[in-house]
Structure formats: structure tokens, C-alpha cells
């Protein structure tokens, strides 16, 4: 007699578990910086860290030719370059030795670096991929 009722309870329990699982996955994706590079946050970090002071207002016209154009560069390369400035020269196989850039990136998290990289890649620039 109360069989249909049990069935309803069971199926709503399944539904609830499904909702919780999906919610947890979405939460994990949002927390993982690889899935959530936030170019708008990157833009504000680029402003607060004064990147334009050397790399140019549009990040495409550096103030001296010793500095690289950044606008439009691959985000994953920019992220890795910034990570290597953070590492410095402690590791014999990885890292970059550059006092200016090392000082710039020390306080940034990996998520911050990915956000900056996403913003840089989104900018129009004069870099071109040619053989």
C-alpha cells in the first residue's frame, strides 16, 4: 500500500544526491584555477603591479626594446614564465634569474598568475606566428 510512497522517497533521495554531487563538482571546478582563469581579475592585478610601466600601456609597446611585447602571447606560456621568475635560481633545471621580474611576482598566487596570463592573451597585439 505504501509502496508508491517509498518509491517517491527513494527517487527524491537519488535526485538529492545527484544535485549534491553536481554542486560539489561545480564547486571544485570553480576553485581549481586551471578552470577559472579570470581575465578581469588579471587586468586589475596588471594595474596594481604596474606592468604597463615597463611593458607599455597596451602591453604591446614596451618602454625599451629589452622588454618583451606581451599582448596576445600564449596564456600558458606567460603563466609558466611568471612561475619561473617566482622560482628564481634555486633549482638547477628550472627558473629564471631576473631581479625586476622576481620582485614583481613574489606575492602572487598561482591563481593570480593564471588570471594575469588570461588577461594578457586576450589583448590585441602585434605578435605573429610565422615560420
Amino acid at each position: 500500500m505504501n509502496k508508491p510512497c517509498k518509491a517517491v522517497v527513494r527517487s527524491s533521495g537519488t535526485l538529492f544526491r545527484t544535485v549534491v554531487a553536481v554542486g560539489a563538482l561545480a564547486g571544485a571546478a570553480a576553485l581549481d584555477p586551471a578552470f577559472a582563469a579570470d581575465a578581469a581579475h588579471g587586468k586589475s592585478l596588471v594595474g596594481s603591479h604596474n606592468c604597463a610601466a615597463c611593458h607599455g600601456a597596451d602591453l604591446n609597446h614596451p618602454i625599451t626594446p629589452e622588454y618583451p611585447r606581451l599582448a596576445g602571447q600564449h596564456a600558458d606560456y606567460i603563466f609558466w614564465a611568471l612561475r619561473q621568475y617566482q622560482m628564481g635560481t634555486g633549482n638547477p633545471n628550472l627558473g629564471r634569474n631576473n631581479p625586476i621580474m622576481q620582485a614583481q611576482v613574489q606575492t602572487l598566487s598561482e591563481g593570480d598568475l593564471r588570471d594575469i596570463a588570461a588577461y594578457i592573451e586576450s589583448l590585441p597585439g602585434s605578435l605573429v606566428d610565422r615560420k
Binding site: 629589452e66 618583451p68 611585447r69 596576445g72 609558466w80 634569474n97 605578435l127 610565422r130 615560420k131
Partner: protein, 121 residues
């Protein structure tokens, strides 16, 4: 008289100094045309659209075309010296002379959106 000699000496000294500076700067001049024949090793990675390196992380190798010449020269010399650490680039940069580096940097920095792919490769 003493004043005139002094003036000439100063001018002569400045001319010699200026000559030294110009000579030092003109020592190695990158030639994009020569660079075109020296980028065979570069193209294997940087000439393949969407190419990614696999070590130590998977990421796109950087776009070089249109990059600043002096930056490219400095970067290659840093890879050669070890101020930038990346095994493949260290090996390649170590095989290059200063003139090769200047030519390659001139080649890539001269590229624009209108540049065709390297006809020699």
C-alpha cells in the same frame, strides 16, 4: 693659446670616445636575411601552430614573430648562460654564436602580420 689647445684636446677626446662607442655597438649587427637561413632548429617548435612543449609542464611555446629584437637577443643569451633554465633552449642557444643570435633575433623581430612563412624551410 692654452685655451684653444684645451678645446681641441677635448674635441679630439670626445671624437675618439664616440668612435669607440659606435664601434662597440656596430660590432655585431643582426641581419634578418641571414637569420632566415639559421632558424631551422627554431621552426621545429616555434613554427608549428599550437605546438606545446611537454616538459617540465605542458604549455604553448611562445610566439616569436614581431617580438622586440633586443629582448630576443637577451633571452637567447640568458638561455645560453643559464639565467633562464630550460634544457632544450640551453642546448640550442649554446650552439649559436653572438652573430647567429643577432641574425635570428633580427629575423623574428622583423616579422609582421604581412610576413609570409619562411620560403627556405
Amino acid at each position: 693659446m692654452k685655451k684653444i689647445v684645451g678645446k681641441h684636446v677635448v674635441i679630439a677626446a670626445l671624437t675618439v670616445l664616440a668612435g669607440y662607442t659606435a664601434a662597440a655597438r656596430a660590432d655585431i649587427v643582426g641581419n634578418p636575411k641571414a637569420g632566415q637561413g639559421k632558424v631551422a632548429m627554431c621552426i621545429g617548435c616555434h613554427g608549428i601552430p599550437d605546438y606545446r612543449t611537454a616538459y617540465p609542464e605542458v604549455y604553448h611555446v611562445p610566439i616569436l614573430g614581431g617580438q622586440n629584437m633586443q629582448y630576443l637577443i637577451d633571452a637567447l643569451k640568458e638561455y645560453r648562460k643559464g639565467d633562464r633554465r630550460f634544457g632544450t633552449m640551453h642546448a640550442i642557444a649554446s650552439s649559436l654564436t653572438d652573430q647567429d643570435i643577432a641574425d635570428i633575433a633580427a629575423y623574428y623581430s622583423s616579422q609582421t602580420a604581412a610576413t609570409q612563412n619562411n620560403p627556405e624551410k
